[in-house]
């Protein structure tokens, strides 16, 4: 069974159709890359999966459970959507770290708040907080940021910020980790350090969806590639196929720029 299935996702902003009947499926441990020019709907698709936008039509299933069905209002209450979001993690193009918190605090904050909702929180508070702290330290170490734990975002480079943001998303152990052009705000050198971390996650079979303009990275790291244009999936398949031997004229045209 696929870990993620999206069926017939449609989204319109002010009469502009941004997503037109998108179908998508992803197996556990797979890395899906979504490529395409700006305005093709890639980011909107990711935002729909994370419930930052509400699709006008369509169904989203994770592990067979229907999380969202545009035709069923019961799946759309604010409170239930909050829990459902936790199946997904999202790393933003502009990091969106919380500036008033250190790297450690950024990674721990959401888990601490969620822990407070557990019934045994009061009795085990100290234990739970310790566990969260250990996890955050491990994650930052994994991101190569052990010596940056107590720095605030404005004291970090863009690449370091993005790695903190990745650790922050991983802290909640999402089923699917999504990246929205994670290196578009970085210079080539910093891009390299972020891509290296994502590559390591791929090696550990982290299920990921990566919207990116880094074509060679998409080819190397992805197990499946989708090329989007004008709100539709124009072509998809094995990265070697899509990049090496594109079938559609529009795909060829797009890839010729790289």
């Amino acid at each position: 069974m696929p870990i993620l299935e999206a069926e017939n996702i449609c989204k319109t902003f002010d009469r502009t159709e941004v997503l037109k009947h998108i179908d998508l499926s992803l197996e556990k441990g797979q890395v899906l890359s979504i490529i395409g020019s700006s305005g093709s709907g890639k980011t909107t698709l990711l935002r729909c999966l994370n419930f930052l936008e509400r699709p006008d039509k369509g169904i989203i299933r994770v592990n067979g459970e229907t999380l969202f069905d545009a035709g069923d209002p019961a799946t759309q209450s604010e409170a239930s959507i909050r829990k459902k979001r936790l199946h997904f993690g999202l790393v933003f193009q502009s990091f969106n770290l919380f500036p008033q918190y250190t790297a450690m605090e950024n990674v721990m904050l959401a888990r601490r708040l969620l822990a407070a909702e557990q019934p045994d929180f009061k009795a085990r508070k100290k234990e739970i907080y310790e566990e969260i702290e250990v996890q955050a330290k491990t994650l930052l170490e994994q991101m190569g940021l052990s010596n940056r734990r107590d720095n605030y975002p404005h004291q970090l480079s863009g690449g370091q910020c993005q790695r903190v943001a990745i650790a922050r998303a991983l802290a909640l152990k999402p089923d699917i980790l999504c990246f929205d052009e994670p290196t578009s705000a970085l210079d080539p050198e910093l891009t390299g350090e972020v891509l290296k971390v994502i590559r390591e996650l791929a090696d550990k079979n982290t299920t990921m969806i990566i919207v990116t303009h880094e074509m060679s990275f998409a080819r190397d790291v992805a197990s499946h590639v989708i090329f989007m244009d004008d709100g539709t999936i124009v072509e998809q398949g094995d990265p070697m196929e899509v990049f090496g031997n594109p079938k559609e004229e529009r795909t060829k045209q797009f890839l010729s720029h790289y």
Binding site: N50, F51, L52, R82, K83, R85, L86, F88, G89, L90, F92, S94, N96, L97, F98, P99, Q100, L109, A110, L113, L114, Y152, P153, H154, R168, A169, L172
Partner: protein, 228 residues
């Protein structure tokens, strides 16, 4: 010079009493205008068009007319035009009218500062909180509030310093604040008349008080300097 030294104790006593009234008006205005400004800010940001338009109209009128005129209208209009002197007479009535005018006036200025602070927090902050499973209230209290305060403090400091000096306008409805007290020595008061120096001397009170405020507000700003 020796005359001034002779008059000094009496004058200082009277100016102190006047300055107490100035301080009272200052603090009452802050206490009233801080929350009222927030309500007006939410009103003008409301998605309910009639409410946001009405609020914006009020803010436009209040910010577009002199506070002195507003003081006069609020104090005299009910009694002279409506034949309903709601403020009552005496110093208490004048203080109530002055406080009302100042609170409304300053709330409108504060509302614009709040609005800037609230809208200045990037949308990405809320989105990051949402995808991390936070509730709207957690996002407000744990993420946005401090960032708003940081944005609000510098422009708010300016308004607060201005307010200290604006309290002098309440002289126009004869509120017995420090300017009134200083001026009284020209016409004659406490056995002293024809003395203009007490009026000039009031400037020191404003200067010292604003100096203290500037220090305190600067400290607050510095406290929030640890992040950007």
């Amino acid at each position: 010079m020796s005359l001034i030294l002779e008059q000094m104790p009496v004058v200082i006593g009277a100016l102190n009493a006047g300055f107490l009234q100035t301080l009272k008006l200052f603090f009452v205005t802050l206490i009233g205008a801080f929350p009222l400004g927030l309500i007006i800010a939410f009103g003008s940001m409301s998605r309910f068009q009639p409410l946001s338009l009405a609020t914006k109209l009020i803010v436009w009128v209040v910010r577009g007319t002199p506070l002195m005129i507003q003081l006069l209208i609020i104090y005299y209009f009910p009694g002279l035009v409506l034949n309903n002197p709601i403020w009552g007479g005496g110093e208490t009535g004048r203080f109530l009218a002055a406080s009302t005018a100042f609170i409304i006036n300053y709330a409108c200025y504060f509302s614009e500062i709040y609005r800037g602070g609230i809208q200045g927090v990037p949308a990405g902050q809320e989105e990051a909180g949402l995808v991390l499973g936070m509730t709207k209230s957690q996002i407000f209290w744990k993420i946005k509030l401090l960032q708003m305060i940081k944005r609000i403090v510098p422009p708010m400091s300016n308004e607060i310093i201005t307010l200290v000096k604006d309290t002098a306008l309440s002289r126009i409805i004869a509120l017995q604040e420090i300017i009134f007290a200083g001026q009284s020595f020209m016409k004659g008061s406490h056995g002293i008349s024809g003395a203009i120096w007490p009026l000039f001397f009031t400037a020191f009170y404003y200067l010292i008080f604003n100096g203290v405020l500037t220090l305190l507000l600067g400290r607050l700003e510095k406290k929030l300097d640890y992040f950007r």
